[in-house]
Symmetry: D2
Subunit: 340 residues, 4 copies
């Protein structure tokens, strides 16, 4: 899917760059975690609608009835992401995770209630998790065009397998490190004692100062900066982590904190205006967590490494996969070049 | 205003009950803090709309341009209140604080964006703070009737002076301790070295097990429980604290934590399903905080006591001022009796 | 034991006071949680040593090898209690929990290392948990007389069964609400689906303004205040919660937060200078947690109630069981009277 | 001083490596922040004492009377550092910050009480801040040889100006990334509107997997790994940040979080067993904070960048300045080579 839509965008592997030491899963995507589904709705209309919504489903069943263990880490809380305090308290997620444009976040949550209510007509309380980045550079952010129809579609079309990256879904209008950015994903997979573990990351990427980008330590941003004329801006990033390991909420919190390490390696500093949130979940549900083998706390270090590597790679991919886009008021966000 | 609308509802003072030791301000209300305004829109329609919205304005100016110093404390995070993580990070509030029904919270936030945007047309990022309690016992919560019109009206009609309490605004459909509940408020005022300090509390009250209510330590709930036939439920409470003292966000966080002490004194335990959030703000803005005299940290204890007392009293008042209400599916929430 | 040493001190039950609704265990003590042991060493020498150490052992085995699931809640962080950040991160306790005098806390931790090292000669990292209250009103706090000998003795003599309360162990030199205070304990026990659950609380009590004490809501402090001439002081409280239910660290954190509710009911406000920490543990170890039946999150409310009730009662008992004591510089802390 | 003691150890600048974009202060050290003093006592005795203590004094006056504004960030809480919870609550530091060996931390704190008490004879409560890394690979950690004498000496000899780095003070027995490590420092300085701001970092460095080290993005660890035979271990890092800007505790917390970004850039992931704490302070005291010009929150991004850069550089220097050391049981920690 990703390959078909963006044939001219190379996989990072095609560049001969290999980030980290742990191998990745089949699709090198968050969907390598079994059961996880991703769906995008992309809105590009006229000169000033450059936005969308992305749905991440921890599993394909009824999430409200089969909540998944989860955690949140706030890297920098200058953002409007919602539903996170309840995740912190209860350690679970009971809805699809939706990503969208900053000012569209409440409208999307409101629409998500209808979806959850239709599935669970007897329930009168839901905790939608909706996160956001500000696509206002290319998109007319105040318009908030993502509504019930787009939310339903993103959830309905969510599927496992390869994922579209770059300027799709909630990533449509984003930029980072002075380049066009958007959605990126990566995964890591390694053998544990009780079978293979998989950890996948999906980022909604909109942060990083122009010129600061590093790819695997190489300051490519500095060299390519001249090519970019986009204004410097603070942006934000949403990092979603999935794993099939039966990690408790406390452990997922520890894992989530390492996403900041992956972000740091790309050259970002989480600027004052950055709304940088990490949402981590295990596909293990309360029903199945007892069945899972307990993992010694010591083995978390491997999960930490996997998180750092997959986050770093997902961020890089969110840029490599995004092409130049023209948006509102003639604003141009240039796709990275010279590496492709 | 309060007296006119509910002439049969006595002030707690009329009961001869005096909670705590510190005196209160002129109106014994959050509006005793100079500049603070409160507005309610109450929706009672047919048999199953029993809801509304309450707006608390820290001051009468442009809140986005003149943000107020603020803090949040999460007593129990099983709730959908939004905008709080940014308050924690930045230590300020830049919008009116709106209270409403649980599932209506996102729609209200979305409407608030239009209000903020109209005031600040050049801005593309706002952090609305909207908190909620679940009025689903009396109200058809999925309907979410509070929209742009009601939000605009609540803000426009917000004013200083006496406040309507009980079944008004966001408190319309609420219950607590097995009785009808809703909005309650109280204040405390005391002389500091650099002038009089005022601290006011407004609660959106929907929590407490039937029979557990204590008023100034007296287990009145136990005695009156027989009269109440309402089902026991977990509920939630939102506690908003205002002060005119130039307290920093860190200090306001310490103050906010004491609201739990006031809640505890009424007999509540913050049950699993309770979404109990405290929002505290100082009317001091970044522009004026430098001008304020610095208060020795030691004097915070008096602010703690004031918070405990005003919270306890505001909760009691939220019940004393609320009359019996019939709502959806014939549900009845009985007003407390025997004390009045 | 408690009864023998203080025959003239009535159990709170003897006063006809029953706090809360849930029944207590056999000893109405933290030791009702199977396996939990408590030991005191009391130091009363000359006119100015009024201090001691109290050891709480979650179980009788090697705690480093069989760590117990645990959590911490900070009510007010003006205190020197140590080892708590690691408990928050890892969710477990690997040492006895020791209580002692504020400035003696590091010397006690240093002594505890020798105990842990002797048991685990191959290990070079331990996380002692040592909490404190300031007994400087009666005790010459700078002297720090609790050393290796006392630490070894407190641990060695720790046992299950009835517990000495009042002016013993770390409670020897403490005061609260203007009265002599010290150690107090209480428990709650109730039937769950998978058997009986027990929750026990032990407090090291040194907080509360003179005159503010409430017993089951009755402002007895106000009436007895005239009898007390002790200076008002801010003090601190350490609250240790034990349960035999297999609660995870996240859930224990939620339970620990409710200790503040029990504290609030006694009239305290957690003054600025109060160092109020809650340590909660389950006797469930990592080895056994998988075997425990999973408890629905909804049932936590009962644990919350049990915590509130047992904390409130333990605080009251810490005062009722403490007799008048004269200490350094002729300071007198008077035992509560009129109730006994 | 640094140069004299380690003439063969080049400054990182000598390698032609320039980390980041912001210039550094006169000494490229934490002591570039006016008033900050650093003192080391190094203990190298026989074959198995390889330890010490490092004192950081925020200013040269009485710290208890002139507390400095401060904050703490926990990157990974598997550590014994003490005094931090009170810093979080009150937002200040009232003692020298001492660094030492893990199991020596309580003994050092106990000794520090005598120092503080001698300066403030009327006070009976102090909050020593003592942080640690585990030097047990080279040092017989259970011996705990740092006592009152060493503590007094480290504080007394603390001075401004150039700082010894590498295997000195608390850094004596440490290793990181498979190389000998220890103390490192760096600073950043830039013009603000109200004058020049300085931010300095000092690290106690003991973390990082063998082979993972990156210097300015270059994976030098991978190339030099063959030369190192030291066992892989988890370690820890303490990062102390000083600034002369009048930042509040809340803002310092935001700054402290960015130390993790600097750490991440060097190749670390904050492994499970890592006790990674950040302590940040402003030399601004409560007495002077009112006099300081208020800095717009937006300008924090520059402080964030300075923190990331100075932390990264201080870590690299902690390795570049440390020579091969032989310790207990014949353990060898090899100094990095090939770069010098």
């Amino acid at each position: 899917m990703g390959k078909k839509k963006h044939p001219e965008r190379p996989m990072i592997d095609d560049l001969g760059i290999r980030i980290g030491e742990i191998g990745h899963g089949k699709f090198n995507a968050i969907t390598d975690v079994q059961g996880v589904r991703v769906g995008h709705v992309t809105l590009i209309r006229g000169t000033d609608v450059r936005t969308g919504v992305t749905a991440i489903l921890p599993h394909g069943g009824n999430l409200f009835r089969e909540k998944v263990e989860a955690a949140v880490h706030v890297i920098n809380g200058f953002g409007k992401s919602l539903g996170l305090l309840q995740v912190m308290e209860l350690g679970n997620i009971e809805s699809p995770i939706l990503l969208t444009s900053t000012l569209n976040v409440w409208r999307v949550a409101d629409a998500l209630i209808d979806v959850l209510s239709a599935q669970n007509p007897e329930v009168h309380s839901f905790n939608p998790v909706v996160c956001e980045c500000n696509d206002g550079f290319l998109n007319d952010a105040l318009r908030r065009p993502v509504g019930p129809e787009e939310v339903v579609q993103a959830i309905r079309e969510a599927r496992s397998g390869p994922i579209s990256e770059g300027s799709v879904g909630a990533g449509t209008g984003l930029s980072g490190f002075g380049f066009k950015a958007g959605i990126g994903t990566a995964s890591r997979q390694w053998p544990g004692e009780a079978g293979t573990f998989t950890l996948g990351v999906l980022v909604l990427m909109n942060t990083g100062a122009a010129g600061a980008l590093r790819i695997d330590g190489v300051p490519v941003g500095k060299e390519l900066a001249a090519a970019s004329e986009q204004e410097k801006h603070d942006g934000s990033i949403i990092i979603v982590i999935a794993t099939d390991a039966p990690l408790s909420s406390r452990r997922l919190t520890r894992v989530a904190k390492r996403a900041a390490f992956g972000l740091a390696r790309t050259g970002a500093v989480a600027a004052h205006r950055s709304g940088d949130f990490v949402v981590a979940f295990s596909t293990t549900t309360r029903r199945t967590i007892g069945a899972g083998e307990r993992i010694p706390e010591e083995q978390l270090t491997q999960f930490f490494k996997a998180t750092v590597e997959a986050t770093e790679e997902a961020i890089v991919r969110s840029i490599l996969k995004a092409k130049t886009m023209v948006g509102r008021d003639g604003h141009v966000s240039e796709g990275i070049s010279g590496l492709q």
